[in-house]
């Protein structure tokens, strides 16, 4: 091997701020992806948005931006980017999706599958009846965000988030008859 010409194209400055960002990335990539996909983005769109959000985070931290509330900062950036690029924001999340059931249940026994499928069908119907904000609150909550953080993402007060989560889950309970 001719070892004399080995250019390394590597933005080291970017990696220098990377430790915290790496931890955040490890922790938040999946919840972010899941949130965006459940909002109705395609897998590719969601990947792009997540990547953009983390690049924005790098820039934010590089330029000495606040390191507080990074989690909700990321979700907010992702949420807004998703909204901006997705003018056809649909309620795809509640669409029928047999594959999803199969995937979710692939370790269950057959009877189990049947029961779970029924439960999922009812849940899907119920999710369709939620308002956008109720659904977003539940999704962000499922992503591990605190009410305060959800409020920061959606521009709501913490108490409004609490009320919305409560109302959403009550609606689901009424419609699902679990």
């Amino acid at each position: 091997m001719s070892g004399d010409s080995v250019p390394l194209v590597l933005p080291l400055s970017r990696l220098a701020t990377g430790c915290e960002a790496t931890t955040l990335y490890r922790e938040l990539r999946k919840p972010l992806l899941r949130y965006l996909v459940c909002l109705g983005l395609s897998a590719d769109e969601a990947q792009d948005v997540v990547q953009d959000a983390f690049l924005s985070l790098h820039r934010h931290l590089d330029s000495g931006g606040s390191q507080e509330n990074i989690r909700s900062w990321l979700f907010r950036v992702a949420h807004n980017t998703a909204r901006n690029r997705q003018n056809r924001y649909e309620r795809r999340f509640a669409a029928p999706l047999e594959d999803a059931l199969a995937l979710a249940l692939n370790e269950a026994t057959p009877e189990h599958i049947f029961l779970e499928k029924e439960k999922f069908r009812r849940l899907r119907k119920a999710i369709r009846l939620l308002t956008e904000s109720e659904r977003e609150c539940l999704l962000l909550r499922a992503g591990g965000l605190r009410y305060r953080e959800i409020g920061e993402v959606l521009g709501l007060s913490t108490s409004t988030v609490g009320d919305t989560v409560e109302r959403a889950i009550r609606k689901l309970a009424e419609k699902c008859n679990v």
Binding site: M1, L10, R26, C38, V50, Q51, G162, L172
Partner: protein, 218 residues
């Protein structure tokens, strides 16, 4: 419905103040209705979570075929760039000794990375897998290389034309000490292989997602 009902979720989510939480716990002791509801809410919360997972998995899985790019080597890992580079050189040296048969069945040829690792990393004998790129992949890549050639008239094109022969996945724990495997940021190395089989140029690029093979934007 009693007054506590509407705070049940907040209690489940540990969003109540200590005083309110204590009051809720006392109330739950004496209110079977709230206990039932609590149970329901917890079940629903779990079901909602699983539904999100299932939906997101299904959408991700049904994603149309990932674009294959001209990269031939993906290293999962984050910070220890030097280790990754050293790793690559060691492996590159081996390629010349054991070139992959171009039309072989996709049975992976496993080489023992531990032997090639520097002593500091010798404790992690995770194997790296070298496999001949499948024929279809190679055709796709050749097509993409052709497109890339058309787009970039620079020196890069000279080696893009020769299609990549192997794809190597090096487990991150073969490179990093236990517990220090950074997930999330992967490295993609573009390797230029000369006709005599020697590697002539290596470029490492950090990528934010380990499975998405698109170049990081500048």
């Amino acid at each position: 419905m009693c007054d506590f009902t509407e705070k049940l979720m907040a209690w489940v989510d540990k969003e109540l103040s200590d005083n309110d939480a204590a009051a809720m716990e006392r109330h739950l002791q004496s209110c079977p209705e709230c206990r039932d509801r609590l149970d329901t809410y917890r079940q629903l919360s779990g079901a909602f979570d699983r539904y999100c997972d299932a939906y997101s998995d299904a959408v991700t899985a049904s994603k149309p075929g990932r674009k294959l790019t001209r990269r031939v080597l993906t290293i999962s890992g984050g910070v220890a760039v030097a280790a990754a580079v050293a790793m690559f050189f060691l492996l590159a040296a081996r390629w010349r000794v054991e070139p992959a048969a171009p039309s072989a069945a996709p049975t992976p040829a496993v080489i023992d990375v531990a032997k090639t690792l520097p002593p500091a990393h010798a404790a992690q004998p995770a194997p790296a897998v070298i496999r001949p790129a499948a024929r279809i992949e190679r055709r796709k890549r050749a097509e993409q290389a052709k497109q890339a050639t058309a787009q970039r008239p620079s020196e890069e094109t000279s080696w893009l034309a020769s299609e990549p022969a192997v794809e190597i996945a090096i487990p991150a724990d073969a490179i990093f000490p236990p517990g220090a495997v950074p997930e999330g940021i992967g490295f993609t190395a573009d390797v230029m292989i000369a006709p005599d089989g020697s590697a002539q140029q290596v470029r490492l690029r950090p990528q934010l997602t380990e499975f998405e093979r698109r170049p990081t934007r500048p």
